[in-house]
């Protein structure tokens, strides 16, 4: 059995187990967290030891796995995003189990991770987006949750892979017909454009960003943060593979030029909407959009040489996102009404850790000092100031708008208590929030903590 089949089977099993433990959702979450942590440990061990085996199963199976017209293999470059996805899944399942969230998250996490692994490990590369459609379908189920509610977020998740899919198919055909394409250079040109349009759609530029904000508004905070984060990892790895496979793409439209603009428009849009938000869920959706744009900005500005920076960022992201998501989830639990700004009286008095976690998480996403993302955000802003003055200026405007939006939310969160029956947060939740806050501070003060792991990941990531 290849390592890929082994990982997929374990993920299916975890999902099944979590699904069967419907009445003990916390235990289900812990089981999933433990299972994913175990898989990440196995893969991490292989990384440190420099072997091509994981728990006795080889990564490069001979013969490789085939299904229909696809070939599946966990090659070195695919192993990096897979390890990141497993780490994210473990952390989100673990924290969500402690804070308590929708029970669909626990069986959903392994399934989403499995579908994304299938996508990342499949070739031909330009046909692989079919598996992204499958992943989006599972993500849509997760976004919809287990209660009747508007399907806005779920529908919008389906949009990007389905819109982009035909462009990749067209490009795949042209690239496989070099003789035909040589006769008609326009066809070749169309194929490159189709490829770039496909990539462009997958990066969720405004106005295709709606799934992120809808997730923040309608899904549980953990679901929103998890789905946005894993989508970003997957798309980053996929586009990077495309750039390696088709380097001429950069000659047609350099991602170093258009990615920062996509990012800065997303950040500006998010910043302006954060300033005008009326509900915490709405604010959370735009925080996620800002976060998504900021990561694209870091990638676009640092370019391919910045893989190391991106890996560091993708490893540090879940610490900040789980902090803010846990804070918001705890507020939603304790505060039985809709979390509109007008209703937030006394939240910071009765649930101080939750309010602090949400605000601190939000500011940490922006790159505020003492947050885990501070070093990398600072570096991104510096690179922008040095290399792209316009981007820097718009980025700073987006940062200012977002900060003002969070300050506005803070003002509402710190109003005095009106309802004396307002519940207090549990000690368990306060403890986990304190741990996450401490972890953020620790990473901000010692960014080098992730250095060795990032270095090891780079050795896999740069293997052609």
């Amino acid at each position: 059995m290849s390592a890929l089949v082994f990982v997929l089977l374990v993920l299916m099993l975890l999902s099944l187990l979590a699904g069967l433990m419907r009445r003990q959702s916390q235990i289900a979450g812990l089981v999933v967290a433990f299972g994913l942590a175990w898989l990440s440990f196995g893969m991490g061990h292989a990384l440190w030891a420099g072997t091509s085996e994981m728990f006795g199963h080889t990564f490069n199976a001979n013969p490789p796995n085939h299904l229909l017209m696809f070939r599946f293999e966990l090659d070195a470059a695919a192993r990096v995003p897979v390890l990141l996805l497993l780490i994210w899944g473990a952390l989100f399942a673990g924290v969500a189990a402690v804070v308590k969230t929708e029970r669909i998250l626990y069986p959903g996490i392994p399934l989403v991770v499995a579908a994304l692994i299938l996508f990342l490990s499949s070739t031909p590369l330009l046909w692989a987006p079919l598996w992204l459609v499958l992943a989006a379908v599972i993500m849509a189920f997760l976004a919809q949750g287990n209660t009747p509610r508007p399907a806005r977020a779920a529908l919008r998740i389906l949009l990007m892979p389905i819109l982009a899919f035909p462009f990749f198919l067209f490009a795949a055909w042209v690239f496989s017909q070099s003789a035909v394409a040589a006769e008609d250079p326009r066809l070749w040109n169309h194929a490159w454009k189709a490829l770039i349009i496909g990539v462009f759609i997958l990066t969720s530029p405004v106005p295709l960003h709606g799934w992120i904000t809808a997730l923040g508004e309608t899904s549980s905070p953990f679901v929103g943060a998890f789905l946005v984060g894993v989508w970003q990892i997957t798309i980053y790895a996929f586009i990077r593979s495309l750039l390696f496979r088709y380097p001429a793409m950069t000659g047609i439209a350099d991602p170093g030029v258009w990615l920062p603009w996509i990012a800065v428009v997303q950040m500006l849009w998010a910043g302006a909407a954060m300033l005008g938000s009326q509900r915490l869920g709405q604010l959370w959706g735009y925080v996620l959009l800002w976060f998504y744009g900021a990561a694209l900005l870091a990638w676009g500005l640092t370019g391919e040489l910045g893989s190391q920076a991106m890996l560091w960022l993708l490893l540090a992201h879940p610490l900040t996102l789980t902090l803010a998501a846990a804070g918001l989830q705890s507020l939603e639990h304790g505060f039985k009404r809709t979390l509109t700004y007008d209703n937030l009286h006394g939240v910071s008095e009765r649930m101080p850790f939750s309010a602090l976690a949400l605000l601190a998480g939000g500011f940490f996403v922006l790159g505020w000092p003492l947050g885990a993302l501070f070093p990398m955000r600072m570096a991104t802003y510096q690179v922008a100031a040095y290399r792209a003055g316009n981007i820097f200026m718009w980025g700073m405007l987006a940062l200012m708008l977002a900060a003002l939006g969070l300050i506005r939310a803070a003002r509402h969160l710190t109003t005095p208590v009106k309802d004396v029956s307002l519940a207090r947060e549990s000690k368990r939740v306060a403890a986990i929030l304190a741990i996450l806050l401490a972890a953020n501070v620790l990473l901000a003060l010692n960014p080098g903590l992730l250095g060795p792991l990032v270095q090891q990941l780079m050795s896999w990531f740069n293997t052609l």
Partner: protein, 218 residues
């Protein structure tokens, strides 16, 4: 009941250009009416007509796949929408035969958008020069793609999004199958459409359940 061979020989005699007009009208019905019966009937009609059009690009056995996929998706959506409607009628005490559909302001709004699209398409004749695709079919595919995108802008109800994304994939079928007809490409597009159909049918139920007075009883 004609056999498959008889049906295929009959469809091959049809003038495919003449099928474009009814197909356009059916697409308009899909986008305008919010009643699922009208929408699904029009969807099935568009799929059948598109399958006949695709006979120009591929052998009948592959064009048949368009009908099979469309049929499977339509059945999934029918079952989902039927369940939502049946439970709601049962819980609100509305008999199955009572028509509840009205021309409300949002229907007028959708109608005006679709009319705008039809007028724009008629006047401008937008045409994406898709390689190896005959001009009339390229126009038709462009119309399908545009209609799909318009459908996505007409609200957040699952079935209409399903129609929109399905029209997009249908337009893509014309563009891709004009280039190559292999089991792989036919399977890839059909696979994406079936996945979409599966997701939308689930979303029809969970989105529609909001309108049940007592969802816990269902």
């Amino acid at each position: 009941m004609p056999t498959l061979e008889q049906f295929l020989s009959f469809t091959q005699r049809l003038d495919s250009t003449a099928l474009i007009v009814p197909s356009v009208l059916l697409v308009a019905v899909m986008l305008i009416f919010s009643d699922w019966r009208w929408g699904l009937t029009a969807f099935a009609g568009v799929k059948v007509l598109a399958g006949i059009q695709l006979l120009q690009l591929m052998p009948p056995e592959w064009a048949l796949q368009q009908w099979i996929t469309g049929g499977l998706v339509a059945v999934m959506w029918f079952l989902a929408a039927h369940r939502v409607d049946t439970v709601r009628r049962k819980q609100t005490g509305v008999p199955w035969w009572q028509i509840e559909w009205h021309f409300n302001p949002s229907t007028w709004l959708r109608m005006s958008f679709v009319l705008l699209l039809l007028v724009a398409v008629y006047r401008v004749r937008p045409y994406a020069p898709l390689p190896k695709l005959p001009a009339d079919m390229a126009r038709y595919a462009t119309f399908l793609a545009l209609s799909g995108l318009v459908a996505l802008g007409l609200g957040d109800r699952p079935m209409r999004w399903g129609f929109g994304l399905s029209l997009w994939l249908l337009a893509a079928s014309f563009a891709i199958h004009a280039l190559q007809v292999t089991a792989e490409t036919v399977g890839l597009i059909a696979g994406a459409e079936l996945l979409l159909g599966f997701a939308i049918s689930y979303l029809i139920v969970v989105d529609g359940a909001r309108f049940w007075p007592r969802p816990e009883e269902a």
